[in-house]
Symmetry: D2
Subunit: 292 residues, 4 copies
């Protein structure tokens, strides 16, 4: 396994898709020096998007968190989250009534603009559920697992409604040595219990990549960079720290991929994991941080 | 699908194995008239055992709950629970140190006699886990899921120890219309997250049947009923309300099986479920209750 | 469950996506009267595409088979097959060398235009595999399962290469009462054995829907029908006979969906299957055949 | 991970259970020097049994193959195979009619003594299946996969009968570098396709261990070795080369376990596999071969 320099590789592409956690930031905040990477992207006229399975906050809130941390370059329209796919689904497929949810009030906030009423599971009255037309699993925080997971199972025995899981991750890191259970894992447990098929949004699924990819034509025209022809999949590089989401999804969508070693995949494990999973990144880089 | 009379079938066997929940009792207590069944068993000299995936209480406590409800016939030594297998495992395979557990203090009580120290996950200090040599998942009650399931995942990242799941059920009924998530489902979620192989005790696994079956020779001799030769598998009838645990396990162990329609399997669904799962009981009966 | 008239529903959409098998044709050929449906689509200026998990033949060959059967309306550019996604993947991600395959020579024929050499597994020499850079599973026919499935497993132990499964179906019908094992099921078995992650193309995956959807803008402009604005997901209706592929995929992509009862889903089973899987079509119709 | 001497460990037990393939023999035949191990077992009065997932031949045939290879000590009654459990199942649970099978005629031979008629799938007439009351999957050899696996699927759509898989292994080695697909993997594929629950016999399932364990009391008495009290689980050591079958099954049954490095588990992978699976052998030894 050869480790190559990120800047040398990225120079050959017009657009970079970044995973967020483990690539741009970790449990301590933004990676030191990451601002150099964004400066270089801007200086060289490269487009970039952040593709995240984090549905706990709106793109606005996510962008603010980057801004506060000093990454001024990351505007809300650069962030594509699995929560946005959940919102599009509700917008297209659920016409009226109430959407029940598991997650924080903040995570549900941007669902509200779909015109549907939102209701946390904790406030659902199981004897009066006829108005509930969808359930969205947004975040592992904001509810009492003992009470509300049981309530969720019983709601799904009474109402045959679509269930959207807006984050496919099983866990997320909370410190150098600890992880936490993510809503993706809770969703899988409930899906097994009720025996129904949930709708999952998030990498490696193609829909998140498509959502970002569809924005490229628009941006290219607006920026008027004089590219020769429209941007195609060969012009896009996907960068991630996780083989089973970022790299598998990027490969399948037809993009070249970079595995970085600053997150989920430890340097000493990378080669063995690539061999044992058969998920093969186009390149392996230590980090996306560019030294000045 | 032909529905036959339980008494007429049971008359042909020397020993009856009963599942508990859905067969002898439900969320409201013992089935009305169940005492007739036990009277008939005693009058006809039939042995019986109760095979339960309930590890939340000791056989003594379970027997007391039957006694309080009026089923005087059910002594502790008639009850075989998956918790007893967990205890035997610890006894044989874990020689010293501490056993962490998820469940009520009561469920952990009878593990203590193995000579090992028991400690609820809530009291585990993640920075001091060197003494913890096993983890047992006993019951869905008695702990804070938000906090303690995350703690469990992190414990298993630090210690490569055997994990015993003492109840393989995913859910259990709490009222006519509601169910609750059982420790079996929580265990599967954690197993998937940590990627390790847990040890499960409970039907349909053969070990619970074996535990009951091994007692038969002893009892036969003690009772001195003049059976012609030792009791064999052809003399035992397994009765349960769930195809995937009671009937699959009983069939595989080589026993004739009765599906009753007083629990998990609704009368209108029985035929379709038998056909779609391929789990075929020898007989189907409405109930084990015998009218006087 | 209400059964509605296909023509009345389809009248409200600009574009119809059809599954092929079980919707337009079955093991006996095209459904009698299906030409009326295509006449009506043309008369009313509706676009249509056929989305099929059949990778055993090229769109040209598939279109010819429709033509021979009397469906003159179905040009090759109306057919989107999972094989086309496999070909795009190879085109974008595999730059040189040989692609090994399982399937008929005919199924491999249109992979060849990618510039890569194709080689049936039967001709692979396991002692000389350094040049093999991808494996594609195309069809269950055209090879000796006893010999070539074992050879495939051993190839994947020697070469860590991407494996593309170009048909996600487990089975397909071959007569009124018999089915056959499809390459999707053989692929799952091999994936489990080698423990690697294969790349699957085909419904319910979003990429097949995206492939069809991307053609809509182009066609709309060419036809110049004076639509108000571009075609959006609300203008597209997905029609299929299988809940887990056609309907789940269509729903997730954001389309309205029709379940027809001429294929996999029997009329008497539809309601129970919808309830037990939680996969809910927008409409249920008997058939897409329109009586004149 | 400490590697210890097999003889020093085995000296502490009264009974040794051996896996066959990867422990006593490999694709080239018996391990050189294995006769020393059996001499030592006899000299020290230790009982031993061979627990194998190989259902392709009867214990008699298996014993003859050991004899021909020079291991004179291994009598048929020392061999416990998953095929014996399949036979016991048929004996107890299938009273009449025909048992269809996949496998060689030789593998079916010892099923015949159950009094049931046996019929290879190749000779089944799908229009006349009313007499077929069970299906047994015995061996990957002896039939045409293309034809007979499809026939098997269609048989199971017509007859709701128990299906017994007499070998849980997915693969077996055929040379230093090649493996072959075992009937266990073919069985899983068919089980998924037909959506039914098959009955599996073989490690890690407790029933194979139980079958061997039940023989111990009998042997102890016959041999009259003056053991203090009956043999218990603490007196038995299980030796195997595969974590997920031999070691997991032995541990769960309550036995001390030895992982040897002469088969499936390579010396350089043992530690990482133990850590990643959480399946922890009591001891790790290089080989069971004892140098004189």
């Amino acid at each position: 396994m050869q480790i190559v320099d990120f800047k040398a590789i990225a120079a050959n592409y017009k657009v970079i898709f970044f995973d967020a956690f483990g690539v741009l930031k970790n449990y301590e905040g933004l990676l030191p020096g990451i601002e150099n990477t964004f400066s270089w992207l801007q200086a060289t006229g490269k487009e970039f998007y952040i593709l995240t399975n984090d549905a706990s906050r709106s793109p606005q809130e996510l962008a603010e968190s980057y801004y506060r941390a000093g990454a001024y370059a990351i505007a809300p329209d650069r962030i594509i989250s699995s929560g946005m796919l959940a919102r599009e689904y509700l917008d297209l497929k659920v016409n009226h009534g109430t959407v029940a949810y598991l997650g924080t009030a903040s995570s549900a906030h941007y669902l509200e603009t779909t015109g549907l009423k939102t209701l946390p599971i904790s406030q659902v009255d199981l004897s009066d559920v006829a108005d509930i037309n969808a359930l969205v699993l947004l975040d592992d925080e904001g509810f009492d697992w003992n009470v509300d997971l049981n309530k969720t199972v019983n709601l799904l025995r009474r109402r045959n409604i679509p269930v959207i899981v807006a984050n496919t991750d099983d866990t997320y890191p909370v410190s150098k040595t600890r992880i936490a259970i993510a809503i993706g894992a809770l969703g899988e447990m409930i899906e097994t219990i009720v025996g129904k098929q949930f709708i999952r949004f998030g990498k490696p699924d193609a829909q998140l990549f498509m959502f970002a990819y569809e924005r490229l034509e628009h941006l290219t025209l607006r920026n008027g960079r004089g590219n020769n022809g429209p941007v195609g999949k060969r012009d896009v590089l996907m960068v991630g720290d996780t083989l089973r989401t970022d790299i598998l999804g990027g490969n399948k969508f037809g993009l070249d991929t970079v595995l970085v070693l600053t997150g989920n995949t430890q340097p000493q494990d990378a080669e063995i994991q690539i061999r044992s999973t058969g998920i093969i990144p186009t390149y392996v880089c230590e980090s996306v941080v560019i030294s000045e």
